[in-house]
Amino acid sequence: MDDIALRAERVSKVFGQSRVLDDVSFELRRGEVLCLAGENGCGKSTLIKILNGVYTPEAGATFSFGNADAVSRITPHDARALGIHVIWQDLALFPHLSVAENIVFDDYVASPFRPLSRRAARHQAREVIERLGVPLDPDTRVEDLSIARRQLVAICRVLRAGARIVFMDEPTASLTRNEVQTLLEITRSLSAQGISIVFVSHRLSEVLAVCQRVTVLRNGTLVGTYSTEGMTQTRLSQLMTGRELTLTPRQAACTGEPVLELRNLSRTGEFEEVSLTLHRGEILGLTGLLGAGRTELAHVLFGMNRPTGGELLKNGKPLTLRSNRDAIRNGIAYVSEDRLHLGLVQNQSINMNTAVTVLDELEKPRGFLSPRRLRELTARWIQRLGTKVSDAELAVSSLSGGNQQRIVLAKWLATQPDVLILDCPTVGVDVGAKAGIFEIIRQLADEGMSIILISDEAGEIWMNSDRVVVLKAGRISRELTPNATTEASLEEIINA
């Protein structure tokens, strides 16, 4: 059969005691878009690394490409010769070099001593850019581009290297809706050119939109490969997690007293004249495209930046925040977007990460840190949030994404805030863990905490908010209640 680009059979991989891949088969057709789905730790990345020649599989595996003879492993050299490329989530680009130089960089490595001309590089880069039909200027430095554009550069680069099979690892994780649409279209046009694409994503709606088939892994074993025709998100998440996930839209009506009031709050160049009221026990969804001012607004509410106009009222009294310490003291907590870098100190213990916001409290009355009270505090929050922790003295980096997110939450809940701002709390978190996080958020709101939930996923905003505010280019463009709208129409409003 010559329409098979890559077939792998009986692939297993053992690391120490644990078998991370067990007898997995994988088949990729020429020019197809296939999704590799599964929860974190299901063996997806291990499989990709084996197919890309980074890891050697256990004996017994076979790999075949089109009509060529089967081999028992793929070396990095084979992978390159066969045109197998991976676009990792971090893209592996060179920020200080120009777009053109990034695209032709592999030539530099292949023939380091051939004198080169900038004009030739620019010309070659422009060729690939035009073939892909994307708006890239070959002379811009990559550091000046948005993440979405950088991704296009990474795609151009593998195209130029003659890619036949491209793995894309979480390509949409930091893109806005429109950018995702562009990427999905590009994916389709690549597949029309006969390039096979393996798409790894936690966003199931995208998976279903772009892929023809989906291969599901769970705990290192193959669940199966299914056609996306007739597949639903619910069914797919069941296959991935092996259990039923039920979450119904939130129906609470908010009648609590105002906790936080924003009156014409502005910060020049970021957002303008934002007025809104947050009530007790309310989940306020704050959405809009990336760059619409969501995170910037959150930074001002958390005292990290000063507003340039308007006022802020807490419990009816004017509030001026000089720093985020002020905000914490006034019961405002902010869970940042980039939890891996900004939210946690990865190599510190789970205990210390949980307690870092309340170290002052734990030092009372004598000014010495009490290890016993610290342990008690951590244990309480770990239990409360249902975090899976074997030993709280271990580094926080030993936890999975979902559990790390819970530790970030715990650290801020320990400050006993009455306003909690959550900035994209589910980025990079898999389906099962997402549901768990929203369960916690809802429970907190039911207990009277006021929550601002920032996200660009219309689905999760619609499902979990009492009220939704849509920002557009720094201004409030719509305010609505999920009850009175549908998920699809909310999505349209965000992207309008």
């Binding site: 592996a92 070099l97 030539d107 490595v109 001593f113 051939r114 910060r267 720094g474």
Partner: protein, 330 residues
């Protein structure tokens, strides 16, 4: 967000031209061929150091051992030439200096690459090691007995001037050759671009198949080579070899190179920038000298210039953003 696009080199060049004009008006000696030639003669050694150092900075490393390495080269080369080779000649002297210099640089590269030690720590180590060895073996004694070819200065261009004549000497030509060679490697070969790539994102470079060991070896080896040449030129200019003549030069040169647009983070910098950085500090110093400012104030003013320049190059990050980025509005 970028305003007038001059680049660091353009800005530096503009500042230097402006300074020269001011000094030309305020003093009657600055804008003379003689003074400008002297400036180049005197700065050629620093400039050779600087073009070597910029390679290391672009590759994301740092080296502070190069100035004492140059002193070591001077001693080793002089001793070998005088005691074992009967004096040698220019070509032989330069090649030997390059060889010994790059060997010392390769020691740094080996330690950094093989033992994964941060470059600043390695070079603090070799800085002390080289200087210590030098003092122990020489007992701090200078060499005055240098070969004849090294002793007599080599004039290249001789122009009549108001007092005597203005002469450009050999070290300037050597500096130009080293700069052109470094510039060619960095901008006109794939290998040079790979050095930028490695400095910009080591992990991305590794994944692209860049051989990290080779990059390290070249960057530190090339700086060593430049340091060897600079050492020989310095000995040629002062007609003697003094063990502590060059120690202490490393930080001002590092500052000049950073002024020229290189960063300690890697991926940025250019030969032109490095040269202009050295030139700016030299012009300032020369100008202050001619204006009769006390030499004690030099360092203070140089420090001030470095801080102001670096702050200015960071202004983009410090000022609040003026407009909502275009892409969000689309």
């Amino acid at each position: 967000m970028r305003r007038l696009h001059l680049g660091t080199e353009g800005v530096l060049a503009a500042i230097i031209v402006a300074l020269c004009l001011v000094l030309g008006v305020t003093t009657d000696t600055f804008l003379t061929t003689q003074n400008l030639f002297d400036l180049l003669n005197n700065q050629s050694v620093n400039m050779i150091f600087a073009v070597g150092l910029v390679v290391v900075l672009i590759a994301g490393g740092i080296d502070i051992s190069f100035a004492v390495a140059a002193s070591v080269v001077q001693y080793v080369v002089m001793t070998l030439l005088m005691d074992h080779m009967g004096g040698g000649n220019w070509w032989f002297g330069i090649l030997l200096s390059m060889a010994v210099g790059s060997l010392l640089g390769l020691v740094n590269a080996f330690l950094i690459h093989r033992f994964r030690i941060v470059s600043i720590i390695v070079t603090i180590g070799t800085f002390n090691l080289y200087f210590g060895l030098l003092m122990v073996f020489t007992g701090g004694v200078s060499i005055y007995d240098v070969p004849d070819w090294l002793y007599y200065s080599v004039p290249l261009i001789d122009l009549p001037a108001s007092r005597g004549s203005a002469t450009l000497y050999l070290p300037v030509a050597v500096m130009v050759v080293m700069s052109l060679a470094t510039g060619f490697i960095l901008t006109r070969t794939g290998f040079g671009r790979a050095i930028y790539g490695f400095g910009s994102s080591p992990e991305a470079a590794r994944r692209s198949g860049v051989r990290v060991g080779v990059i390290h070896a070249f960057a530190y080896g090339w700086l060593g080579l430049c340091a060897g040449v600079a050492g020989l030129m310095q000995a040629h200019i002062v007609q003697e070899v003094v063990p502590n003549a060059l120690i202490g030069q490393e930080l001002p040169i590092l500052a000049a190179v950073v002024l020229g647009g290189a960063t300690l983070g890697g991926g940025r910098g250019s030969v032109t920038g490095a040269l202009l950085g050295v030139l700016l500090l030299a012009v300032v110093q020369n100008g202050l000298n001619l204006l009769g400012v006390t030499p004690y104030a030099f360092r203070m003013i140089v420090g001030f210039i470095i801080l102001v320049a670096i702050t200015c190059s960071n202004l983009d990050k410090l000022l609040p953003r003026r407009a909502i980025p275009k892409e969000a509005r689309q």
